[in-house]
């Protein structure tokens, strides 16, 4: 009832753990049965290991979270050796999320990864926290198209490109990625936000701006998914603030083939299981043979396939 096909990959259900919010799956595997998930997107990797940003890294806001992790990660090589094997055994579809600070670092990363065994590559051109996150690439249609095209040429896995809600012309970036050969898109990454410590009279984060996520952003993220789904034909994976089955279903009705859940997992580790169960209940209650039947149902301009 929930089985979903995404670029030739079969997901048990359309619920994927979002990059950077689920590590490589190990921590949450101690808490619940992660094989029930549709997929897991790895912590964002870079070619070289990174310590990440200094100073405060997380700050709670009204129904939201601002983070300045700065892509702390062990680097692609260590990941392949130490973390990928665990992900392969998780029972969920394996998505590897890759960032980069220049074209070369993306391409070297892809080269190392391409021969490995996993399901989808998620190209992160949208992390607002560091240059290495590639948001610079994700801001303009032309630069986004360029990096996607080069990666596409060297990557034999299905390619998902993760878009930034901070792009001035998001639909343009989406179209450009499709044109350049992306197999599907995921959106949104975090919004650029900030917080000020009024007692220290300073921004909370050393980097001043940081990435904003969680239920607070849902109305904007949903609007963006709706707009992109009315423009592109490739599948879209929707995310941004999803914390309940109702939220996930709304994204699918906007046109998303699958969804990712990030911050909500921090708030309740088993949130994704509740979302999966809730989707199944919804199908039964609404007499839907398949959750895929609702994809794009609320979006008259939906251009994808169901």
């Amino acid at each position: 009832m929930l089985v979903t096909e995404l670029c030739g990959v079969t997901l048990k259900n359309p619920v994927i753990a979002a990059s950077g919010t689920f590590g490589f799956g190990k921590e949450y595997a101690e808490i619940f049965d992660i094989s029930r998930l549709g997929g897991i997107s790895s912590k964002g990797l870079t070619l070289e290991p990174r310590f990440g940003n200094t100073g405060e890294r997380v700050y709670e806001t009204a129904s939201g979270l601002i983070n300045s992790i700065g892509l702390q990660n062990p680097g692609v090589e260590a990941f392949i050796k130490e973390d990928l094997p665990f992900m392969q055994k998780s029972g969920a579809a394996v998505i590897v999320n890759l960032g980069g600070h220049d074209l070369d670092s993306y391409l070297k990363g892809v080269e190392l990864l391409d021969s490995q065994d996993f399901d989808l590559l998620e190209l992160n051109i949208s992390c607002p926290n560091v240059k290495a996150g590639g948001m610079a690439f994700g801001m303009e249609p032309a630069t986004a198209g360029h990096v996607v095209k080069e990666v596409r040429a060297r990557c034999h896995k299905p390619l998902m490109v993760k878009l930034s809600p901070n792009a001035p012309d998001l639909v343009g970036v989406a179209l450009s990625c499709q044109q350049a050969g992306a197999d599907c898109l995921s959106l949104v990454n975090t919004f650029q936000g900030m917080a000020i410590d009024i007692y220290r009279q300073k921004p909370v984060f050393d980097n001043v701006f940081a990435g904003f996520s969680g239920p607070a952003i849902l109305p904007i993220a949903l609007r963006m998914v709706y707009q992109v789904c009315a423009a592109v034909e490739i599948p879209v994976v929707g995310l941004g603030g999803i914390s309940s089955a109702e939220d996930a279903i709304a994204f699918m009705m906007a046109g998303a083939r699958a969804v990712q859940v990030g911050t909500a997992t921090f708030a309740r580790p088993t949130a994704m299981l509740d979302i999966i169960d809730g989707m199944e209940d919804f199908c039964k209650q609404q007499k839907l043979a398949h959750i895929g039947d609702i994809v794009g149902a609320a979006n008259p301009g939906f251009r994808g396939r169901r």
Binding site: G20, T21, F22, G23, K26, E27, Y28, E30, I31, F32, K43, F51, G52, E56, R57, V58, Y59, E60, S63, G64, L65, N67, I69, Q72, G214, P215, S243, S244, T263, T265, F266, A267, R268, P269, T270
Partner: protein, 242 residues
């Protein structure tokens, strides 16, 4: 580690701002471990709050917490019989099986909470307990059965010695110092211990989002590279982090 809904057996006010909560759970955490607590649904702060284990007996876990902001204020309003969402026990505690001989347990403010369970769990040691408070001590009776001596310092001098808890003793007189409290106090103490060769364990505090090692929001730089306070800590050997 588990994520469960547990019944609150007791939630009582201890001082103006400090509460004690007893929750039903069969897990046996280590001293120094903590749980992520959430006593509200989608209405309330987004994230759970990290609170240390103040006591545990295989049937219940006790928390001692100070109301600082929204989350702890909501916790304080829960009543016996209501449910609490618990994730844990999280992190690595004090390696108490390695602790022997003369031990100073040193606390500042609500850093007192985890050290109750630590004092209770130490075996074959002579334990002196040094506790710093703002104006007045609380819940000292919880540790009294397990320690040789208790000494108190307060900022105001209203009780015990006026001044820093670290002025109450000389770390050189001890084999081990175990501490939880404000970062500045722990840093000062850690440096004094390192200077005189006393082994010192500190319990760090960081803002946390997940509490389980997934978000990398609580990283600290250690001699062994970047570590998560929530998963690799909160307890570290002093020289690893200061």
């Amino acid at each position: 580690m588990q994520s469960t809904r547990n019944k609150i057996l007791e939630n009582t006010q201890v001082t103006d701002t400090v509460y004690r909560m007893v929750v039903e759970t069969g897990t046996r955490p280590e001293p120094g471990q903590f749980y992520m607590l959430k006593g509200w649904g989608d209405e309330g702060p987004l994230l759970a709050r990290p609170i240390s284990v103040c006591d545990a007996d295989g049937h219940t876990v006790t928390f001692l917490y100070e109301v600082r902001g929204k989350g702890t204020r909501l916790l304080s309003k829960l009543r016996a019989g209501e449910q609490l969402e618990l994730t844990g026990p999280a992190g690595h505690g004090f390696a108490i099986e390695k602790v022997r001989g003369k031990v100073a347990v040193v606390t500042g403010g609500i850093g007192f909470a985890p050290m109750v369970y630590v004092a209770k769990s130490l075996k074959d040691c002579q334990v002196d307990f040094f506790a710093g408070f703002r104006d007045a001590s609380y819940q000292l009776e919880l540790v009294r059965p397990y320690v040789q001596r208790i000494a108190v310092a307060t900022d105001s001098g209203a009780e015990g010695k006026k001044g820093f808890v670290t002025d109450l003793f000389d770390p050189a007189d001890y084999d081990f110092v175990l501490t939880c409290g404000p970062q500045v106090m722990m840093e000062k103490l850690a440096k004094a211990c390192m200077a005189c060769g006393t082994t010192c364990y500190v319990s760090l505090e960081r803002h946390m989002a997940c509490g389980v090692g997934a978000c990398l929001g609580c990283t600290c730089q250690t001699t062994a590279g970047a570590k998560c306070v929530c998963k690799d800590g909160p307890v570290f050997l002093a020289q690893e982090v200061f």
